[in-house]
Amino acid sequence: MRRAPTWPRHAIMVVVSFLMLVPFYWVLKTSLTGENIYAYPPHIIPVDPHLFHYVDVWYLIPFPRYLLNSVIVTTMAICGNLLFNTAAGYALTKQFPGRRWVVLLFLSCMLIPFQATIIPAYLITSWLGVLNSYLGIALPLLSTIICIFIFKASFEAVPRSLIDAARVDGLSEWRIIVRIMLPLSKSAIATNVILTFIWSWNAFLWPLIVIRTSEMQTLPLGLARFLSVMEDTTGALFAFVVMVLVPGLTIFLMAQKEFIRGLTSGATKG
C-alpha cells in the first residue's frame, strides 16, 4: 500500500509554526531596535539592533527587586503545590467514605472562576494576616485542583502490588509517597512545576489586590507600573516583556518532554 506523502502535513506545520512565532520575533526585534510598532513600512530585519533597552529596563525601574519577588513567590507556589497536591492526589487514590463527593466537589470548584471567589480569598488572606507578604501572594496557588488530578492519575498508574509490598516492608504512607510514588511520577511533577510556574509567574489580578507597597510588586505588576510612568518606551517596554518571558520559556523548554508526557498520561488515565 502506498503511503500518503508527508510534505503537505509538514508544509502546514511550517506555516502554523511561522504564524505562531512571528509575534515572538516581532517582540524580540522591537526590543532590539525600539522601532515604533506603527512605523510604515515595518522593517522585517532589525535595523541597527542593540541591547541597551535591556539595560534601561534594569535600571529605570527596580527590575531586580521585581524579579526577586517573582522568583520567591513562584518558588513558594511550586513547593506548596508539590507538597499539598501530592498529598491530596495520593489521598484520592484511596477508598474512603465520601470520596466521590470530594472528587465531585473538586470538579465543581474548577467551574468557578477565580474572579468570583476573590473577595472571600482576600478576606481569608487578611484574616490570616498575610496581606502584602510573599505567602499572601502565593497562597491561592499553593494547591490547584488540576494538578491534584494530574497527581491522582499518575499515582493510580502505579501498580497496587508495589504499594502493598512497600506497606508490608513497613513503610509509612508518607514514605510510600516519597520513596515509591514520586520517583515513578516524574512527568506529573514536571507538569506541576511548569503549570504552577506559568500561573504564578504571570499572575496579575491577585498580586494587584494583596500587594500594597512597590517593594513587594512582582514582574507583571512592574510591567503595568512601567507602562504608567514611562514615555517613549517602545524598545524598553518590549525588552521588559522579553525579560519577563525568558524564565518561563526556559523552564518550559527544559521540561517540555516531561510536561507533555505528564499531560497526556493525565488525559488517558484520569
Binding site: V55, D56, D232
Partner: protein, 126 residues
C-alpha cells in the same frame, strides 16, 4: 540517580551556566564600575580645545537635565568621576560661543568606566 547523571542533567546544567554567566558579569562589573567618563574636546581641525566646558546631561523619565559640568585641561581632556549613570548626553561649550553636538552616552551598566570619542566644537553657540 547517580551524581554523574545529576551533574549532567539539563535541570542542573542550565541553571549552572546561567549562574556562572551572572557571576562572571558581576565580577567584570566590580572591576569596571568606577564611574569614570573621560574624553577630549577638539575643534574641526582636530586641535585640542583647552578651557572648554563639558556638560553632562542625565536622563530622567522624560527628558535630559544637566547633572554635572567640568572644564577641559590644557590638552583638551576632560573627565567626570563617580558618575552613577548608564545613559546620558555630553556637550562641549567654549567661551567664544561654539559648542558641539550632544553626544549620546549608552553604557552596559551603571557607573561603567567609559572613554568617549572626541567632542568636536564647530558651530556658534545658539
Amino acid at each position: 540517580m547517580s551524581w554523574r547523571r545529576i551533574l549532567t542533567h539539563r535541570f542542573f546544567l542550565v541553571p549552572l551556566v546561567v549562574a556562572l554567566l551572572v557571576a562572571g558579569w558581576n565580577v567584570y562589573i566590580a572591576f569596571n564600575d568606577g564611574g569614570l567618563i573621560a574624553g577630549e574636546v577638539r575643534d574641526r581641525a582636530g586641535t585640542p580645545v583647552p578651557g572648554a566646558t563639558v556638560v553632562f546631561f542625565e536622563r530622567n523619565f522624560i527628558y535630559y537635565q544637566e547633572k554635572q559640568r567640568t572644564t577641559t585641561d590644557a590638552h583638551g581632556a576632560y573627565r567626570f568621576d563617580g558618575m552613577q549613570v548608564h545613559v546620558g548626553q555630553l556637550e562641549a561649550r567654549t567661551a567664544d560661543g561654539r559648542h558641539s553636538e550632544r553626544r549620546q552616552l549608552r553604557l552596559w551598566f551603571r557607573a561603567q568606566n567609559a572613554e568617549m570619542a572626541p567632542l568636536v566644537v564647530d558651530a556658534p553657540h545658539g
